[in-house]
Amino acid sequence: MNFAWFVLPFSLGLFLLFILVIFKISFWVRQLPLRDRLLLNRGIFSFKIFKVIKEVIMESLLHRRIFKINPVLGFMHMSFAFGWFMLILVGNMESRLYAGTELNLPYYAIFFKYFVHQPLTIPFAEGFTFIMDFFLVLVLSGLLIALSKRIYSRVVGMKRTTKLKPFDVFAMLSLWFIFPFRLLAESMAAGMYHTGGFLTQPLGNFFAGFLPLGPLSYAMWWAYSIALGVFFVSLPYSRYMHIPTEIVLIAFRHFGIRRTKEYDMFKDVEVFSCSRCGICIDKCQLNTMAQVNTIQSAYFIKSIRKKNQQEAVVQNCLVCGRCQEFCPVGIKTDDLRLSQRMIFENREIADFHYLPQDVPVKTDILYFAGCMTHLTPSIKKAMLNILNSSGISYRFMDEDGSICCGRPLMLSGNNKDALKLMQTNKDIIRSSEAHTLVTSCPICLRVFREDYNLNINVVHHTQFIESMIAEGKISLENSGAKISYHDPCELGRGLGIYDEPRNVLSQTGVLLKNSLERKSSLCCGGSIANNQNYNLNKDKISQQVVAHLSAKEPDMIATACPLCKKSLVKYADIRVADIAELVSEQMVSNKADASRAEKKFNVESVEA
């Protein structure tokens, strides 16, 4: 039997790792509600498992999404993960073929070159040696990038990389030492026994010229094994736990495990899946535009993992979704943030007994302006003008002032109070028997769609206007004005509504392209989700966003959210308008129709 004492650190480390990871995973699974555990069991034995395997290969090994965002960083992650994986896989094939048995202990493949001194007698022997050296080179090249990233993060095109605590450095160093030791150990073995490939053999020959390879190589095998052992043991406690956890996360997603608003097991798995790649840090405008650099998702997630959440960090975030959009692991950072806010804020404080208990009037179409639209009356006025001149019959649900949609409270983490408001609104909407609810504010729209369970058509006014144009209810005249469009976070990244505003706008004027739009669009800074003392930072952000939107010298900035309008107008030298205002101005109105509609509206609202 092949054995040497130096295999112990590796073997023990691997054993412990195995136990700890299994323990953690079973903890997650046991905490799942029964229904989700059943889903999990069913999922494992269904075709879905192939999807999981595919995604694990694409993401955990090849890191496709990081590649897309940042090729150099992608290469770094890929070379470590894929290179090492291939070393293990090919190494095992090689050793098993050689030994002619399946039953080797794991260390045999790892320290194969120590145990086997003669040239291989297996098929494709040269190929194997080549491949093993090739992947070692791949891993080492990744290591080189990682090293330079730590010294100078711009190497990988990042302005800022994650900050490390001593234990992280320890785990990282143990990982980094594995491959140089392996290189040295294998090269020295090659120097003695001529078992090396294109990299290890020449290096081994070189060492043989002036070094006592016998004792030295033995020391290197020890060092290699210790580095591996240390890394394995520290893995569950370091960020490298993301490696096994991401597989669990991918499985959870494919098997349809449910997410709740609270901090649940799904979110715990997400927290442990964060690789601290740091991509989110540079995407965050609080960092790039306001020099707030302690709250970004990478740090925030780490604080959850360390059970050391600080209210100031949890609350200081725009919940703009930019980091989420770019997170290569697909962590729902916005939901995570809100779930943590609930820890601080979720309490029943408000008494809403004063809310009106109106008996609503029946209608097909309800228009809900929302409180922010009441604070931007030109949007409200424009919408009413559009609706009235289109001749459709509708009701203005919050004509006498809105009952809050509840989302501001939810964004602050106070879901309990939010639910009370939501119920009141829901009752009004339900009993109106409307089939369509039109809102002007994307913040309201989001909560109506995602949390009200209305089972009716809930649309933003840009969508409604687009359909009214399509149905010929209104028609527009193009003014030729150059327009720069600002995607509101809640409308764009939040609800994926990118095309409708653009389609409508390109009928009112000439829409300019902009380098940060759609998914990459900037947050206006005015987010109601940040309830830290935040005004100065807000202004810094709005100012820079206005500058960005004005870069191509448009005649005006258009947006589709009353809050965005308010934050941009503060610093814009040109006009800032909601799409509804532009539509209302560019409508080719049939005068007779318009006046008829006006009368009808008057009558209706008096009744209401």
Binding site: H374, L375, T376, P377, S378, K381, N535, D539, K565, K566, V569, K570, Y571, N602
Partner: protein, 351 residues
């Protein structure tokens, strides 16, 4: 030969400092971008706290610049060159003026009330600004609302575009509280039946005779002062304006319909102030007005040697303050031209 001073901006500050500098014997050129002098003062009918006609003050100022000052109207400045210690100011029509010192008096603009959209300016017809009300007084016609009604109830809103982080202006504009009192009295004198409600955060009656004016407004004219900030305005069917305010003394929300809503718009740095500042590399303070070298001891001095400030381009000011500041600037410019080391004491104490 007399040393040359170019003064940019022919409002109160520019006129009064030019008059003083010319009297002292300097060769003064006053550049004004409009076709007449006076700046904002031309638009105010009566002035607080004396109720004197604005025109009288304007005539007084004009007398100062009539003979000795080289006044250039419609002056569109395109470039300011600095050649060693001298300056050369170029206009778009080719003319250029040399100067040993520059005095900037480019003033303020009133806050663009459409930026405070929830107050409905530019959206509802019967919402106007204090400057527009002043224009109505100036025209001397009967007071009617934009929709053609004699108002029975008028709301006056303080601090529009001032002391408001939401619009990015955190400072107090200093003249609008007392302007509100003045305008309320004037309205009451013209329309004795009208009810007037002023909504304020706190009343800043700091000037020598302001408090007396405020007392008169309450006691003689029964004008209502309610402490509370307007949250939003909306339009009723009959085009009156419904305002929602939290009465913070009574501690209850208040809804009121008025026939006319007057917004006391604050000061912001004028377009000319911003343009000239950018063109020359003058430093701006956090509030966007020019930054003076020291808030106590160097109030007229800029970051560029030989360039000075006067009037409301550095901060909101009343006419009294503007005139005082203009005269102070004239002495500061003269001291510089006579080679006094102006900064030596400030440097010794504060830098």
């Amino acid at each position: 030969m007399a040393k040359k001073v170019v003064v940019i901006g022919g409002g109160i500050a520019g006129m009064e400092s030019s008059a003083y500098l010319a009297e002292m014997g300097y060769d003064v050129t006053l550049l004004e971008k409009e076709d007449c002098l006076g700046g904002h003062l031309r638009n105010w009918e009566r002035l607080f706290p004396t109720m004197r006609l604005g025109q009288e003050v304007l005539d007084f100022l004009k007398l100062g610049v009539d003979t000795k000052v080289n006044v250039i109207r419609n002056a569109n400045i395109t470039k300011v060159n600095r050649i060693e210690k001298r300056f050369q100011v170029e206009l778009d029509r080719g003319a250029s003026f040399n100067a040993d010192a520059l005095l900037i008096t480019t003033g303020y603009d009133t806050f663009d009330a459409t930026k405070k959209e929830e107050y409905g300016y530019g959206i509802y017809d019967n919402v106007i600004t204090s400057a527009e009300l002043e224009k109505m007084f100036m025209e001397g016609k009967n007071i009617i609302t934009p929709t053609g009604k004699v108002p029975k109830k008028i709301g006056i809103i303080h601090c529009v575009g001032s002391r408001d982080e939401k619009v990015g202006n955190v400072y107090c504009s200093k003249v609008c509280c007392v302007t509100a009192v003045k305008q309320a009295i004037e309205l009451k004198e013209k329309l004795p039946e009208v009810e007037i409600y002023c909504f304020y955060m706190d009343l800043r009656m700091y000037g020598m005779h302001f408090e007396a004016l405020y007392k008169e407004a309450q006691e003689k004219h029964a004008i209502n002062f309610i402490r509370g900030r307007l949250s939003e305005a909306s339009e009723n069917m009959d085009q009156t304006v419904m305002i929602k305010v939290e009465d913070t003394l009574a501690g209850k929300p208040l809804k009121l319909s008025v026939d006319l809503l007057v917004l006391m718009v604050g000061f912001v740095p004028s377009k000319g102030t911003k343009e000239i500042g950018k063109m020359m590399g003058l430093e701006f303070g956090t509030n966007g007005f020019y930054k003076t070298k020291d808030q106590h001891t160097m109030t007229n001095v800029s970051n560029i040697q030989g360039v000075f400030f006067a009037g409301s381009c550095t901060a909101p000011k009343t006419i009294t303050n503007t005139i005082t500041d203009a005269r102070a600037a004239a002495t500061t410019v003269a001291s510089y031209l006579e080679s006094y080391d102006l900064e030596i004491r400030t440097k010794a104490f504060f830098q």
